[in-house]
Symmetry: C2
Subunit: 134 residues, 2 copies
DNA sequence: GAGGGGTTAAGGAAAAGTGTTTAAATTTGC
DNA sequence: GCAAATTTAAACACTTTTCCTTAACCCCTC
């Protein structure tokens, strides 16, 4: 059966990093270049992000599309819009205005610039009022 | 930046399965064989398992070795032993006796036979009192 | 035993991921 | 500003995954 996403090399680097070693020190220990250690560490962190995203997807399986935040929208107007759409479907959003804005930005920081939506964001909702973004 | 672990094909199949379609029905919709749908679904589930395992590893990064359950030990005596070791380190185990035994067996069924430990089991603990086995 | 749902095995072609090096940025801490 | 630490890019060999087909097999239920 399959192992986790991280290679032995990646785990090795993460463990040493956790102990506080620099990439240079690790490079010496595992006999390679510090650039390579950097690449491996970066790949490890990407793999961890991928693992998180994969499990996030499972939640969206239970969720249905609620609406789209279109590029250019003022982020501060998003909650009101989302609440309205949810009400149309008889669903209650689990988050208050502030939490909602934070969740939006935390989930996809690169999709926002200041108060503005830079790129369309799809909003999904499940029966519990949990929101997911895609 | 990387996407999640699941390919578009895998997500597609999981969505249809969630809706209750059979592999045969999905095969017709996406124009392939049912054997292929089965393979894709299986790969998807493996990827999800890998994602879970990957995040599990992160916890072990924070954990320290607590003790070893040696081969031959009575499984029913393990919790008491583990509690004692945790107390030595000023840590409180998060699980009660029953949960702990279940967690042990669920994590590594092949390491136990009846009430007996067949093979040494390393116990790790983090600051939250979560336990991990290796 | 036939039919439906699911699984497995073998094999192949295309795509994606990994570890590595070298060299060039970029960031960070005095 | 210097030096150390970190990051990035490009390229290469190598391994693994994916998707696909075909054909067979298992477990039900009727």
């Amino acid at each position: 059966m399959k192992q986790g996403l991280l290679t032995d090399r990646q785990k090795e680097v993460l463990r040493y990093r956790k102990k506080g070693l620099t990439q240079q020190q690790i490079a010496e220990i595992i006999h390679t270049s510090k650039a390579n250690v950097c690449t491996i560490e970066k790949a490890a962190l990407e793999n961890i992000a991928r693992a998180r995203e994969t499990l996030e997807f499972l939640y969206t399986l239970d969720a249905v599309h609620l609406c789209t935040l279109e590029s250019g929208l003022d982020l501060l107007k998003a909650p009101e819009f989302i609440y309205a759409e949810a009400e149309k479907q008889g669903l209650k959003v689990k988050y208050d205005t502030i939490s909602l804005i934070n969740r939006l930005r935390d989930a996809n920081p690169e999709r926002f610039r200041g108060r503005q939506v830079r790129e369309d964001v799809e909003i999904y909702i499940n029966k519990d009022g949990d929101l997911y973004f895609g």
